[in-house]
Each structure stands twice: as C-alpha cells, then as structure tokens.
C-alpha cells in the first residue's frame, strides 16, 4: 500500500484517535497485519471441499470422511478452502459504561477502532460485514454488506450514539440474534459489565442459532489493575450507588472479584465454543489483533472451534 504510514511502528490507540479518519485507521491496522501472507483467520461456515488427504494423527476427527472410510476402510480427511463470501456481524456495546477511559481513549473509542479494523479486514476479503450498535436497546442494525463505505457509516453511527445506562446485554443479543437471517460470524465488542449468567444466556442464543461468535472483551487498564491511591469517590456510570473508599486498601478484594468474574466469563465462553479475548484498551490495536488471530489460528488447528475455513 503506497499510502501506508510506514513511520508508525505500533498503533497506539491515542495516536489512532488523532488520525480521525476511521477508514485510514482501519487500513493502517489491517495492512499492518500483512493480510495475504497467511490464510484468512476468519473462517466462515460456508466451506468448499478441496481434496482428500490420508488421516494423520492430530487431524480433527470431525474432518474424517466417513463415506470414504465406508467404501475403502481407510481414514481420509477432508480438506477445505476458505470461502470468501461469508457474513460478519460486528456488535458494539455503546452503553454508558463503555464511555470510561483512564487515558485519552475510552473503551467506546477503542471499540470503534476495533470494529472498523475488523470490518476493513472482512471487506478486504470481499466478504460482507454488518454492524449493530446497542445500549439499553438496539440502536442501529445494519445488515451485512460488502461495500468499503461501511467503515464511514460505522464512524457516523457511533458518533450519533448517546450512551445510555443500564445495559441489558442478554436482551440485546437476543434481539440481534432474531434480526440476523443467516448464520454469521458475530464479533461482540463490549465491556460486558453485567451478570455473567445473563451475558452467557445472550451469547448462547447466538450460538444456538448457529452463529460463530467471537467476544472481544474491552476493559480499561484501570479496570484491570485498579491502581488508585488516596481517597476516591467512584461514581457509577450506570447509576449505581457511589462509593467513597481508599482503593489501595480494597484493591485485593476488587481484583479478586474481577478475576472471579473473568474466570466465569472465560469458562462460559469456552463451554459454549465462543472465542473470547480480553482486550486492554491501552494496548496497540495491531498487537491485540495479531495476538487474537494467532490464538484463533492455534485454536482452529486444535479443532476446538467448529469454524470452517
């Protein structure tokens, strides 16, 4: 790409915010991933048979061609090529809690970059990408399309959002699941600050509908580390009762609660065959995506997730 910003070694969220142009941001992020040198990390449900190969230990059992076994009494594995024509649906949580940011970029901004980058990546593979933005209700639902201009629309839609407290993630996921007609690749970008069971109920609905679900759990570094010192008054963004305390003295309790929550969420996702990634909003976007795709590739090779190339 001739217009690639070669001077940028890593894509710091604050720097991306300064760029302003979301499409440019997305392009920078995605081009930085060197797409094309690898197979697509996003493997849709629509797959196309390529050829057979003799089974080797370690190959997924599910890919065994039982018909060939029936005929020849030998194990053959089916190999598939990625089909570029799949639907990807990006769901962005725009609730009030997403507006928190300890640095210059809050979680919602970061989610916007993530969404744009994902959309760009999908569009670059000539697949369709759709977008849903929700808070206490589904604010926007844009069916999947394959036009590059969708990135600009994402930006526009996000700009118009006024964050509303009280996210009910489960309900919104149920609603969105009902709206989606085809089995899709669903990417949920949210801080998921709600009851784990509630969240899992919504995600399960998507999974039951046959969607391949990826959760990008965006959390601010302060939410992860709770590094406050002195006396602080915490005003809940979603109308919770405020708390005045000395955070350093309750930090252990907080971190314990957070770990318990993250463990429950991660366990729930693994149980439901959902790809889960905690995203620290202070980290560079390309690094996060690179890491995510690498993990996903590993997972796919291990055959844990029922996605197909």
């Amino acid at each position: 790409m001739t217009d690639h910003i070669t001077q940028i070694n890593y894509l710091d969220p604050e720097l991306l915010q300064k760029l302003g142009d979301l499409e440019l941001v997305a392009r920078e992020v995605v081009e930085g991933l060197r797409v094309g040198s690898h197979r697509s990390p996003l493997r849709g449900f629509s797959t196309e048979f390529a050829h057979h190969r003799q089974y080797a230990p370690g190959d997924p059992i599910r890919d065994l061609d039982w018909r060939v076994y029936g005929r020849t009494d030998r194990y053959y594995t089916k190999l598939y090529e990625a089909e570029t024509n799949f639907d990807c649906h990006v769901l962005i949580d725009a609730s009030a809690s997403m507006s928190y940011g300890s640095g210059k970029v809050n979680k919602l901004e970061y989610a916007k970059f993530l969404a744009a980058s994902m959309a760009y990546l999908v569009l670059k593979q000539r697949d369709s990408v759709g977008l849903s933005i929700f808070d206490s209700e589904v604010r926007t639902y844009m069916p999947p399309r394959s036009a590059m201009g969708i990135i600009v629309e994402i930006d526009k839609m996000l700009r118009e959002i006024v964050p509303t407290p009280k996210t009910t993630v489960a309900k919104q996921l149920h609603d969105i699941a009902l709206m989606m007609k085809r089995r899709s690749f669903v990417i949920l970008i949210s801080d998921l600050l709600a009851d784990v069971e509630d969240i899992m109920a919504g995600l399960d609905h998507l999974r039951f509908d046959g969607h391949n679900v990826v959760v990008l759990h965006t959390l601010d570094p302060y939410e992860l580390e709770f590094p406050f010192k002195g006396t602080w008054r915490f005003e809940g963004l979603e109308r919770e009762e405020p708390l005045t305390t000395q955070p350093e003295r309750i930090r252990e309790d907080y971190v314990a609660n957070l770990d318990k929550y993250l463990t429950a969420l991660r366990s729930g996702c693994i149980g439901a065959n959902i790809d889960y990634k905690t995203v620290d909003t202070s980290r560079p976007l390309d690094g996060v995506l690179n890491e995510f795709f690498a993990e996903r590739a590993t997972t796919l090779n291990g055959g844990a997730v029922g996605a197909r190339l």
């Binding site: 006396t231 602080w232 809940g236 979603e238 005045t244 305390t245 003295r249 309750i250 252990e252 314990a256």
Partner: protein, 717 residues
Amino acid sequence: MNFLNPLLLLGALGIGLPILAHMLNRFEVKHTDWAAMQFLNRSVRVRSRQLRLRDVILLILRCLAMLLLILAITRPSMKSRHALVSALGEKRAGVVIALDASFSMQHRDGTQTRFERALEKVESIADGIRTGDSVTLILLGAEHRTVIRNAAFDADAFAELLGEQKATSEALHVDSVPRILKELAAEMKAPEKEIHIVTDMQEQDWKPRSIWLQESLKDLARNASVFLVPIEGGPENLAITGLELVSGVLRKGTSARYRATVRNCGANVAQNVRVTGLLNRISVDVKVIPVIAPGTSETVSLFFPFRDPGPVKIAAELSDDALAADNTRQAVAVIRDRVSVLCVEGSDGDGQSAGRLIAAALRARDNRKVQDDLAVRSVSWVDLPSQDLKQFDVVILADVPDITVEQARSFERFVRAGNGLIWFAGDYVKADAWNQRSALEGSPLLPGTIEEPISTIDAMGIGRSLDPSLTDHPVCRPLLSLAEDLLSETRFRTMLRVKPSATSTKVLSLAGSDSPLLLEHSLGRGHVFMFTTSAGSAWNNMAVTPVFPMLLQQMVTYLTGREFETPRTVGDTLSLSYVEQPDATDAVFDTPAGETITVPVREYRNQYVALLGNAREAGFYLARVSLQAAGMPIAVNVDTRESMVKSMLSAETKRILKDSGVRVVRSSDEILAGMEESRESHSLWRILMMAGLAFFVIESLFAQWMSKRSPKTGENH
C-alpha cells in the same frame, strides 16, 4: 490533680495532629466516573466500611496513647485516699536533706559526736526514700556545700556517699539556710517535697532569730513538708577565742607577749584550765587558769622567744575537751633578723629634736649596748634625696616641711612594697605643699588632708591627754596595759586639724574630743601612720613619757609585719601577693590536711596576687609561689561564735516552731512515720506512661492483625 509540668499539657493539642491527618485524608477525596462498579460490590463496600471503622479505632487508640503519654510527662499526682488511686499511684516525694556540718557538730557528749548521731538520722530518712525519688543532700556551714543535687535516689550509692561526709571547721551561717533550702526544694520536680533539717540547733543561732526563723520555716512549709531532726547536746565547751600579740618586737633574739583568751561556754565552772603556747609546734610556755566562771572568758599571757629569723607558727592550745575544733588558736609571726628605720627630721636638730627623741624611743629597750637588730639612722630632710629607701623597713618623717613629687612617688612605691611610713606634724610642715604632694592618683599617701594647727590647751592651761580609740588595734594594746596615770600624764597642747580620708582609721584620739591624734591607712601591702601632733616637745610632752617608746616600738613591729601574719578565719580568702612578677604563673597552697591546691597568679592593681577562695580548714596553710619555693605559713582559725554549743531546749524549740508547720521528729520511727503521713499525693505518671505505651502496642498489634486479615477477606469473596 496537680501537674509538675503543667505547661506540657499544651502538648495535648498534639493529639489534634493524627485527627487532622485523618480528617485531611478523609476530605481530600478525588472523584472519578467508574464503569466496573459491579466489582465494588457489597463485600467490598463492607470491607471499606470495616477499614473506615478500623481507621477510627486506630485513630482513637493512637490519640489515647498520645494523650496518656503527654499526661505522663506532665507528671500528674493526685491527693486521694481512694483505693484505686492508692493502688495505681505511687507515693513519691523529692527529698532535701540539710545536714548541719558546722564544727559544733564535732562536739562529743558521750561516745558519739553530734555529727555521727546526725548521720544515723539521715540513714533513717534514707530508709523512707524510694528508689528513683529525687534527693538533695546539702552540708550546712559557712558556705553550704551540696553533696548531691536533685539526683535519683539509690540506697547503696547514697549510703556510700554519706559515709564519706565529715563535719567541717566552719561556723553555721544560719541566715542563708532557709533561702538555700527553698531554692533546692523549688528546683525539684516531685509531687510532694520534703525538707529534713538535721541540726544541733545551737541556742545562740536559733534563740536570737526565733521570730525570723519561725517565719522562714513557715514559708518553707508552704511548699514542702518540713521536718526538723534535733541532735541535742550539752553546753560544756572551752574555747580559745583569741590569740594576739600584745607587746614585744618580732625580731631575732627577742621575746613577744601574746594574749590568749579562753572562754568557758558551758554551764559549769572550769577549773585549772591549762593553756600551752606552741612555737613551731613545740611547747614554749604553759599557763594554768585556776577558774573560769560559766559564760565568761579569761586571758592568759604566753611568752614566745624568737631565736631564729623567718616565719614562725605560734599557737595556743587547750587540753582536750568535748569539742576539739576550737581548742587551738593559731597565729603567724615573721621574725626579722634586723629592722632599719630612717628618721628624717625637718627641725633644726637641737637637743630635744624630734629625730633624737625618736631614736631614743626606739632604742629604749636597752640603751647601754648597741642593738644589732635595730638600726636607726637620723638625717635632715635636706639629705633625704641621697638616701636609698630600699635599705630601710620604716621611714619616719618628723616635721618635714615639704617633699618633691618624685619623693612622694618613691614613698608610695616604698609603702606599697610592704614597708611602713610614720609621719609627724610640726611647726615646719607646709600644709598646702603636703596636701598637694600627698594626693596620688589612686589613694593619697597620707591618711588625711592637713588643715591648720589648733590649740588643745584646756581651761587648766595644760594640754589634753590621749584616748586609744581602737582598743583592739595592735598599736593600742600595750597602751591599755599601762597604768591610768601614765596615760593621763601625756598631754597634747597643739595639734593639726586634719580631715581623715575615706580609707583611714582613727587609732588614737584626743581625750574628750573626736579629734584624731593618730590616723592609719593601708597602701598596697604597707601602712602609713599619721600623727597630727609633733614628735618633739614643742606641741606635747609625749616624747618624754613611757607612752612614746611603747607606741613607736609597737608601730615599727606592726609596720614590719606582713599581711599573712594576720590570722584568718575559716571561710576567708587567703592571698599571696608580690610586688614583682614571680617566676611561676601558679601559686601553691598546702592545706592543714596536707592537700595541695594550685591557684593562678594574677595581676591586680600593680601587684601579683594568688587567691585561694575559701579556706575550709583550721590550722596552718602554707603558701608558695612554686612547689620548690620556701613556704609562708598562714594561720586560719575557727569562727568561735560556733563554740557556744548549747542546743535549744525542747520546750523552747516547740515554742519557736509553733504554728510554723514544721514537725519535730527525733527517733527513726518518728522520722519514717512522719514521712509516710506527709505523703498524701500519689504520682500517676508511671501508670499513665505504661498505659500509653500499652495503647501504642495494642494499636500496632491491631493494625498488624487487620493487615494480615485483609487477604483472607479478599479470598472469601
């Protein structure tokens, strides 16, 4: 409740500091919006509330600890008989023990001296003092000596210290006792203060001051419990109260008569009192006084022959009695090998000239043989410039009309060096010239300003007789032994009116008037005598009466004496002075006990003086400019006012101490009971200090326990 350091109560404001820090911490709240409120859930909120509660508890503990410690350092005490206060508090007191160490305490009635009995009483007082109490021990005397001052009491150390104490040779200076005791008590930091006065309560000290003492003790008793521990004793005591040179010249080969005065201070008649005269510690004369009535003094003459020149130690000693300290009286005499007198005559020098009369008077002792030990040279005043004054000990100026300024200065140097000058008036004396020459920069050469001659002829047409004004002056003493008619035979017809200078002493006066016949003043180390009458027969008939040789010889003896010949009293300052700067920078004083004290030689008014501040012992001190130099003895005697050893009677003591608030305790049991009874206050500082420290420990343990408990709380969620 009383506080020893009430100002430190201001420190209680210090507990505001942790509160302020706590409040500041609470009020300095930073605000933030927060999304992940679900992790600050109920248990975290409970935990936060627990932490706040813990903070408050820690704050309270800290404040309490600090408050208790501040209270402790204010040293509170409480007067209460409540069982709790008695259980928690301690009966603490600061104790001042004043032990009379004057030499009357050496009086021995039986087997023990009063001082030994007093030490036993002090030991009893020490039994009632708790370890750590503030204690001051002061020995009372002429100059009170603090042995320990406001020190924490340690029984063993105190007993050891007490064993080292001895009665001094000083007299008791009663007047300063209440003041010093008040000061010592005031400087003590104790809830209760006790003053114990252990004394033999000599009647001669207490009785004349009964009202003053009553008031002073009452004043003491306002701020402290005052206990008087009387060490009673009888009055029997003989003392030598005086030893003076009466007559004779202090020259080699002569004898001098000294007068020893023995006083019977007791209530019984003293018989056959034996007085021994000691010359350089060798007995040379013994006299026995057959009877001395109670309360009276008797004198006895002791003759001391002087065979060798130099300083000699003269002492009069009594046989042993109940109080040995005042049984000896010392004096020093410097025996001269030869005395040279220069007689300068201003008159024409006829047969009755002053010069011849003076020379005759000085040689009056033995006219038939030439005296080797006394040389008198008579010269006319016009020959004065040719005389070398260094060859003479005494210069007599008889009717000298005038002297030059240089001569005046040379006479001043001569006198200041320790020599003597005798000045006689006469017809030739020019008053204005003498007044002018005599007026030196510091003090005048002559002890008076000369005015005009006056006639002292009475109504009978004869002159007036003389009157020894200062009966105790060495010059007057032999005159007093003369028969009345011999004294009255001396008549003065004319004399100079003089205006005595501020430093002068009137030694002889004209009988029946205040007009001085003989004035004296000291100049440097020497003396100047000034007769306001003539040495010749023009103005009087003195030169032809027995008075004249007596006077002149006594004056020459007196003038050739040295300052260290004057006996000193215990407590006086001893001095050693030189006209020329000595080779050594330090002088040495050997005390009668054999101790050597080195003092610096300092320049003072054109002289070099070494001063020993306080002579503590009675006996002969030896003053030297260096260890190798020959010593000059200085006699130091006890103050015999202390010899009246009779103690106050119980009834009299009661009368004096009535309503003064002072308790008289005699036995050990009475002492201990009195001390226990007087201590009403309970000192609380120790318990408060322990409580404060305990609170600090509790606070620390509580904080530690809470911090250990925190992770468990976290894990439970």
